[in-house]
């Protein structure tokens, strides 16, 4: 990966996913500003990057609680995006932001909430 700099991305994990991310509900990580092909990093790249570099999971790929073997977020995990340009500071369904195609901005907040556990 040709490193052309990083951008800070704020993360939040809920519904038990935090167990795989240092047990922190929130953290800020530095993410490469460009993806493997040199395009601006988007949400799909962020998920790949988190899976490969940040997540602590040593089990089988098919049981990975965060991503499927195909690299998609596991169904049942909600992805919410807090765009830093939105003044309301609210998190929106990532469907409203283009899903994986959402281009990351410095200090974008991305929240992953698993709905799969607990009643």
């Amino acid at each position: 990966m040709s490193d052309t700099g990083t951008i800070p991305i704020r993360l939040s994990f809920g519904g038990g996913l935090e167990a795989y991310f240092s047990n922190k509900r929130t953290q800020t990580v530095q993410v490469p500003s460009k993806d493997e092909s040199g395009a601006p990093s988007n949400a799909a790249f962020l998920i790949r990057y988190l899976h490969e570099n940040i997540m602590q999971y040593h089990g089988e790929a098919k049981n990975n609680p965060f991503v499927t073997p195909e690299g998609d977020v596991r169904p049942g995990i909600l992805v919410l995006i807090g765009d830093p340009d939105e003044i309301d500071g609210e998190l929106a369904d990532w469907e409203l932001e283009g899903e994986g195609a959402y281009v990351l901005k410095p200090n974008t907040l991305v929240s992953f909430i698993s709905s799969l556990h607990g009643g």
Binding site: G16, P65, P75, A92, G119
Partner: protein, 424 residues
Amino acid sequence: MPASPCALCKTSRALIVRPKNHQKLCKPCFLHVFETEIHHTITTNALFHRGERIAIGASGGKDSTVLASVLKTLNERYDYGLELILLSIDEGITGYRDDSLETVKRNAVQYGMELKIVGYGELYGWTMDQVVSQVGKKGNCTYCGVFRRQALDRGAAMLGVRHVVTGHNADDMAETVLMNLLRGDLPRLARTTSIVTKTPNAAAKMDTKDGRTDDGIEIIPDVISHTDIIRSKPLKYAYEKEIVLYAHHKSLDYFSTECIYSPEAFRGSARALIKNLERIRPSAILDVVRSGEDMAKLVPAEFGGAQTEEEGEGGCGAAQGRTGGGSMGSLEAKLREDEGAKMREVEALETEITLPIRTKGKPKSKPKKGAPTQAKKYQKQVMGQCERCGYLSSQSVCKACTLLEGLNKARPKADIGIVVGLDT
């Protein structure tokens, strides 16, 4: 991407896409629509009546926390006149419940509700820690699962409450419909899709005048037994996704643990199928629930129309303790520790053996084990009740009582894994 405006108020920024109809809503409109739909579920099914005391099976998890919050809101907004109580079950495993019970205690303060925590020790005379020290780690999950099935009913009876609500959501319902469809078990499908279920005596009472006198006054027995409980599921049509979003946008305080073990294979597969279908066609979840209801209508009453509460559906991952338990996956993981999938498989099957119980109407004479069902000429078969505790059971003594007998005789491992009727 330019922000989309809310489909209802047309002014605020949409934050939510509703799975069932793709409607894009802002936060206040979403919260209001979500609450209003549950209000409609409650009113169209006449779930409650004024003055009723309702125990909310509370685990501290997302579903029961949202249920408590919404019921509080609706009770005030529409003046239902309900007395709402939080009811939590503590299995008595050192350390395990600490976090979830702390959450429920905070909820009780936040919602201004009375909280009753009942332990297995109180209900059965045995905490799970004591069970483990008696029978060892192997097999103790069976005890935990069997005890849990009756715990909410018994807890409610201790509180003198006849009606328990649980946080089962549309995804849970769709999962159950699919599982029963794949098993070819339409009678069970019919029973489990019902929004209201009843334990034997409540069913008998409701059968006549809805538990009321001719003047419509509710008949409240002097002593409420755990065989006299109504259970209902106000979140039956609510998507899990929306429940999580509601909790998020209302900043509700809930607890979730990571499952260490995956649920039993069959249920896990049904769950995954539901979630995958939702991704492709979000309306699929409600469509499956509705299909389940339509199929239930086709099932003759004598095969399952009575919607009686039964012992079944426990085990690892079963509704994840939405019946007040909490995150069962991790609980059973903690209990199970060094046990393999084999045991889990056996237990999962074992939960299904109570199946041939159906009907309402309480037999005055206790059904003898193995006695032919005398009910051929009845509209509905006479159900079995445990001759010790009266709980619905396919055998003369229910599994909980069988296990307790074994424990009380200090006989390690009463092997109820007997798996009667297991024919797979």
